[in-house]
């Protein structure tokens, strides 16, 4: 396959996943802001990434929900706004239309057609559930059609690798920049505030129900961490994502009859993810562990770009 195609496939999947992750965060945040009486500031901290906060502060005077939503959904100054991400995903998909099945490219076109009007206008909170649902649905239909209609060849593998590198990045980022402090708090008593934050954390990763289902009502920080880092049943855990990356790289090795350094990187990450279960939340190594994971993920991205002639 043309290296540029692989690049387009990989980024198409990454941008779409990123849009979906932002949508999930907004969904969780909206739920929180409706159900909790706390200061909205906390919500902003949660929804906007560190590196975007300065851009946000330059433009907006206050952290009202409306401003935050505009920023995340269609503010041109925010490169990672959802509208932009969906557009980039579609442009990448359009370029490699020939490599996609009609179902997959239709799913991109359809989501584009159904969200364009909503995203081009100022966002109204009343429209938000509809927008979020459409975006999440886009991701679902896209992945479903990829999974259900595409040949298991390199096209498929590059899409899957893009999806899971982006997804695990997101999970690691959420854990480390927003949650490690509350997860490491020494108190035995869970405050209402912490409880709320954990709830958003899990909701933003679509893991609230499944976590509750697995561990009952009890929100134990160690259990949450294990769930999001090591649990292979959880499709947004680091372990699950990396396993997918590793398996797709494995297929590429097989197809191309060649050894790749990218595979070795993913393999060594996988070892670290299967070896340890964090027994106690007081383990300060969590932060370092996740940081290291993120670095390796970044290294993996660069190695894939280099080894497969992505441009």
């Amino acid at each position: 396959m043309l290296g540029r195609y692989a690049d387009n496939l990989y980024w198409m999947a990454r941008y779409l996943e990123r849009a979906e992750n932002t949508a999930r965060k907004i969904q969780a945040g909206l739920h929180y802001s409706i159900t909790s009486r706390e200061d909205n500031n906390d919500l902003v901290k949660f929804l906007i990434e560190e590196h975007d906060k300065n851009i946000f502060k330059k433009k907006y005077n206050d952290f009202s929900l409306n401003n935050v939503l505009k920023f995340l959904i269609n503010d041109e100054d925010n490169e990672n706004n959802i509208k932009n991400l969906l557009q980039k995903a579609r442009t990448n998909g359009k370029i490699v239309r020939t490599a996609l099945t009609r179902e997959v490219s239709n799913s991109l076109n359809q989501s584009w057609n159904s969200t364009q009007k909503l995203l081009n206008n100022p966002i109204k909170i009343n429209n938000l559930p509809d927008i979020i649902e459409k975006i999440l649905n886009t991701g679902t239909v896209f992945r479903g059609s990829v999974y259900g209609t595409m040949l298991r060849n390199d096209t498929f593998h590059f899409i899957r690798i893009g999806t899971f590198i982006e997804r695990s990045n997101n999970t690691a980022l959420i854990l480390n920049t927003k949650y490690y402090r509350i997860l490491l708090r020494k108190t035995v008593l869970v405050s209402k505030m912490d409880y709320n934050r954990w709830e958003i954390l899990l909701r933003s990763l679509s893991a609230w129900r499944s976590f509750n289902w697995l561990s009952g009502e009890y929100l134990d920080p160690a259990a949450i961490t294990n769930f999001l880092v090591f649990d292979e049943r959880m499709p947004r855990s680091l372990s699950f994502c990396n396993k997918e990356i590793l398996s797709n790289l494995g297929y590429l090795q097989k197809t191309y009859k060649k050894k790749f350094k990218s595979f070795n990187i993913a393999e060594s990450t996988q070892k670290s993810l299967t070896s340890g279960i964090i027994r106690t939340v007081h383990n300060k190594k969590l932060y370092n562990f996740i940081s290291e994971y993120s670095e390796k993920n970044e290294e993996l991205h660069f190695m894939i770009t280099k080894e497969f002639n992505l441009v």
Binding site: L2, T98, R102, F158, Y256
Partner: protein, 473 residues
């Protein structure tokens, strides 16, 4: 109000159908609820959007994507009539390919005084870089789209031979898919000839031209990029043929070969179906101002390490001034009479003709010799006095740049409107594939339809739409 009496392929003046081919369709249409049909029209549009069959309009915001309007009423042509048309196209293309071979080698047709030298050698569509070069299999015109118009049951004219990078084949196929998706029942009533095999035939035809090598050639489609108005078609054809769709940035010259970087390493390309004009192929050989293209591509081509389809320099054969000589060209190379007629054409470069044209502008259609897409032309009967006056000045300033033709009564086929069926002017572009021993013409083509009442402009850039075209047994 048009003064011309036109031939409608389906309806009689009283609104009934005169044509036996349309009888079954007509009775089927009468059984349908017209509001439901109109709804189907909208559904067709959604279908096109979903698939992403859109084109970009030049001069508009680059992000603007438009649909080519699609009309649900198919156009029907009998196989017997079609076989005649096909024969005519094959004859024409045979002669034109010989013509190209001749003007890039011995120029016998000029030496024998059939065509003036000036018309060829001073023409920007003539590429002297091609002189003395033999393209693989002696084929210049691998792919062509011949624009036909009809004026009566029997009379088909060739309006234009598109021999450079004609587009529309993807619409021909997508129109059929859409019709089959929406009205499967109609296809049980008619035995409609297949157009789906076009990409497969295209692939095989190009491979045959390449010939004489021990390995299976690696074919790719070259596109200017996603903002090109025909990008959908480029990707569609690459997809259907199962080959790479390349952009300029993908091509590297390595060891006098054209190479691309793949996820497995480097790969050699043998055949480029290029959807790029000659002038942008290679700035070292053609237009030095061009910012796109691959410097050195033409040298690789001349050393035989890449086949380009179509060959550079075919534009001289579909030049509008050369068009007027086609009967002579057919006679000269094949010693035959043309099967398909040419539209009467006045060459404004000739003093007598120019005088006639200037005196009769309000009756004529005047076209730029190198124009396309309906740009830069004058349609006398529908133009205002001041438009004609303005055009007169341009004509006097550069008579060489223009040809004129009578306003022809293009046949009409009804379209579906809110008030029922209403006739609109149409043309037809079938596609032809040439390989060393064969010229194949599609059983069907792209019918373009002027959606505005009485308009003769069928170009998509001028508000035209399309119809599915049925050749039936």
């Amino acid at each position: 109000m048009s003064l011309i009496i036109m031939y409608d392929e389906m309806l009689k003046r009283n609104g009934d159908t005169s044509n036996k081919l349309y009888k079954k369709l007509y009775s089927w249409l009468n059984d349908q609820n017209s509001s439901i049909l109109l709804k189907q029209s909208i559904k067709a549009e959604e279908l096109f959007r979903k698939v992403g069959i859109t084109f970009n309009v030049y001069g508009n915001d680059k992000a603007e994507e438009r649909l080519i309007p699609f009309d649900l009423i198919p156009r029907i042509i009998e196989k017997k009539e079609w076989d005649f048309v096909k024969k005519g196209i094959i004859q024409r293309l045979k002669a034109l390919n010989l013509f190209l071979k001749d003007i890039y080698f011995d120029q016998k047709i000029i030496k024998e005084g059939i065509i003036p030298s000036k018309l060829i050698n001073n023409n920007s569509a003539f590429k002297p870089q091609m002189c003395g070069f033999k393209p693989p299999g002696d084929i210049y015109i691998h792919i062509s789209g011949i624009d036909l118009i009809r004026t009566s049951k029997k009379n088909f004219y060739v309006l234009e031979d598109n021999l450079r990078v004609p587009s529309g084949s993807s619409y021909m196929i997508e129109n059929r898919s859409t019709m089959m998706h929406m009205f499967p029942e109609l296809f049980t009533r008619y035995n409609v000839k297949n157009v789906y095999d076009y990409p497969d035939l295209l692939f095989k035809s190009l491979i045959k031209c390449y010939g004489g090598h021990s390995h299976t050639p690696n074919l790719a489609v070259l596109t200017p990029g996603i903002f090109n108005s025909a990008y959908f078609e480029h990707s569609f054809l690459a997809d259907e043929m199962g080959v790479n769709l390349l952009e300029w940035r993908d091509l590297i010259i390595d060891n006098n070969k054209i190479v691309i970087k793949t996820t497995k390493g480097k790969e050699i390309i043998d055949i480029l179906y290029r959807r790029v004009d000659d002038d942008y192929l290679d700035p070292l050989t053609f237009n030095p101002e061009s910012l796109i293209g691959l410097p050195g591509l033409f040298d690789v081509y001349r050393s035989g390490n890449i086949m380009l389809a179509n060959a550079p320099g075919t534009g001289i054969a579909d030049d509008k001034a050369v068009y007027s000589y086609i009967p002579e060209i057919i006679k000269f190379y094949l010693d035959e009479k043309p099967i398909l007629e040419n539209v009467k054409t006045w060459r404004c470069s000739e003093a007598n003709s120019l005088r006639y044209v200037l005196d009769n502008l309000e009756k004529l259609v005047v076209k730029e010799v190198h124009g396309s897409g309906g740009y830069g032309m004058l349609i006398g009967p529908t133009s205002s006095k001041s438009e004609i006056k303005k055009f007169k000045k341009k004509l006097i300033l550069r008579p060489d740049n223009y040809i004129a033709q009578p306003t022809i009564a293009l046949s009409t086929v009804p379209i579906l409107t809110e008030k029922g069926l209403s006739p609109r002017h149409v043309d037809l572009r079938p596609f032809a594939l040439m390989s060393p021993n064969e010229i194949r013409v599609t059983d069907g083509g792209l019918t373009r339809v002027a959606l505005k009442k009485d308009s003769l402009l069928v170009n998509s850039s001028q508000g035209g739409g399309t119809k599915d075209t049925w050749i039936i047994d």
